[in-house]
């Protein structure tokens, strides 16, 4: 059985959902504002005869033609663009950091969202890019350097007990919590993504997600923002994890704008009820915008 069938009751058009999940994804690049503008990237692609399409909800994203290898283009060499899936651009936009902020990306490697955060911060302030894996950190560092990022501090910690010690003990203004997940939403990019799917795996990874989210809330200042995201559909990894955070009473879900078609977070799953504010979270399904699948919620720390 296709594991994705368990979500048929959640989606508006199950047939379109399954069809979209079976198609491959176009490659997408995001313009890095630290070094370039969408106009300059367009002009460079035009000069080189690279075929691309604009993405209507975001000026800085381009879908490339199937025969283009983005790494072998001048805009990539110059760090003007970074290969990043459309839906992966959502969480940094939801976090919306400003220049001079103190921001943590707690599961940062290989760095697509970190470099996007840096460009939203105009490369000013302290951006901590953390991951627990040294090999993945080297990918994060090389992506950040190619993008001309100079405001990133790279750390290697377990996000479940992230220490503020190297940062004077001071909490962050914002934390991006893009957790490891069962990756159901990446099936279009990686057809093997569901090969080892099991409910047991989802339940055990949800425990890790809870611990990372809890610690992230603890190290964010009152009034600060935590954005929680996954590339999966499983309510056990999405709404149920958020529900536990809401139950501690130190955060609330807040609404945010998203120009992509999406569905609200759900308030009930297999007999379990979730808070009614869960509808402020957003579910993006592959058939809505011809993208990967995604889940993203914005939280305000209240105490």
């Amino acid at each position: 059985m296709d594991p994705l069938e368990r979500y048929d009751s959640l989606v508006d058009d199950p047939e379109a959902f399954h069809e979209a999940c079976a198609r491959s994804l176009p490659s997408v690049v995001r313009v890095n504002d630290i070094k370039a503008t969408p106009d300059r990237v367009r002009r460079a692609f035009d000069e080189a005869g690279v075929d691309y399409e604009r993405v209507d909800w975001h000026d800085g994203l381009f879908r490339l033609a199937d025969d283009v290898s983005p790494g072998n283009t001048w805009p990539y060499v110059h760090g003007w663009v970074h290969g990043q899936e459309e839906v992966s651009a959502i969480p940094p936009l939801a976090l919306s950091p400003e220049a001079g902020d103190r921001v943590l990306d707690c599961c940062a490697a290989p760095g697509s969202k970190t470099t996007q955060l840096a460009s939203l911060m105009d490369d000013h302030g302290t951006l901590v890019g953390n991951d627990n894996n040294l090999g993945r950190l080297s990918a994060l560092r090389s992506n950040a350097e190619r993008c001309g990022v100079t405001n990133v501090v790279v750390t290697r910690q377990d996000a479940r007990n992230f220490s503020l010690k190297p940062f004077g003990g001071e909490p962050f203004d914002g934390v991006l919590v893009d957790v490891p997940c069962s990756c159901e939403g990446t099936i279009r990019k990686n057809p093997d993504a569901l090969k080892n799917w099991s409910l047991g795996h989802i339940e055990s990874i949800a425990e890790v997600q809870r611990a990372i989210l809890d610690r992230s809330i603890e190290i964010t200042r009152e009034g600060g923002t935590v954005v929680y995201s996954t590339c999966t559909f499983a309510p056990e990894e999405n709404e149920a994890v958020l529900q536990d955070a809401l139950d501690t009473g130190d955060v609330r879900l807040v609404d945010y704008d998203l120009g992509l078609e999406h569905a609200p977070g759900i308030t009930e799953w297999e007999g379990e009820e979730f808070d009614e504010t869960m509808t402020r979270a957003k579910r993006v399904y592959p058939h809505h915008n011809d993208t990967g699948g995604f889940f993203c919620a914005k939280l305000e720390v209240t105490a």
């Binding site: 630290i34 070094k35 300059r40 990237v41 002009r43 460079a44 000069e47 080189a48 790494g71 072998n72 283009t73 001048w74 990539y76 060499v77 110059h78 760090g79 490369d123 000013h124 302030g125 302290t126 890019g129 950190l137 560092r141 090389s142 950040a144 350097e145 190619r146 001309g148 990022v149 100079t150 405001n151 990133v152 501090v153 790279v154 750390t155 290697r156 220490s163 010690k165 190297p166 940062f167 004077g168």
Partner: protein
């Protein structure tokens, strides 16, 4: 004091404040970019500079109290503690756009060859040493990386991992 190559050490502001032998100063690092490439010293007003490893200088867009436990701090920027200081590819790409001297603008074929790590023989009557290689793209000159000009030869210093066939 000696240099501990495992941790980030802040560069002293000036010679007078230097405690670690051989460590470059903030003043000398900024002067080097200003003298070598004609940059405005204000370019680096918001950056702090750090040494980790012998002579490897990093530029960070903020300040930090205790960087002992971090893996990276901003961008690798410059190599000192050798006869000729050498800028990194990433620093030249980030800051070299404002260069007014020691920048060679290559034509399309030369730029592609440079990116693949090949040596070139461009027409150059200026200084020897490390120069910025650039090309024109989308209406403006954009730096590609660092080349070493000696004996009428321009040797590409593109790191292996950055070499591409565009």
């Amino acid at each position: 004091m000696s240099n501990d190559g495992q941790v980030f050490n802040r560069l002293p502001a000036t010679e007078a404040e230097r405690e670690t032998e051989g460590r470059a100063t903030r003043e000398a690092v900024i002067d080097w970019w200003v003298d070598r490439f004609g940059l405005d010293p204000e370019t680096f007003a918001g950056h702090t500079f750090w040494e980790k490893g012998a002579g490897k200088i990093w530029a960070f867009a903020d300040d930090i109290d205790s960087p002992a436990e971090v893996e990276g701090l901003g961008m690798t920027f410059l190599r000192t503690r050798q006869e000729h200081w050498k800028p990194t590819t990433d620093a030249v790409q980030r800051f070299g756009r404002e260069a007014t001297k020691n920048i060679i603008v290559l034509d399309d074929d030369e730029a592609k060859a440079f990116l693949q790590g090949e040596d070139l023989d461009p027409d150059w009557a200026g200084d020897w040493g490390y120069l910025i290689a650039a090309h024109e793209i989308a209406g403006e000159v954009e730096p590609i990386g660092v080349g070493l000009y000696v004996h009428d030869e321009f040797r590409s210093q593109m790191p292996k991992g950055r070499q591409r066939d565009v």
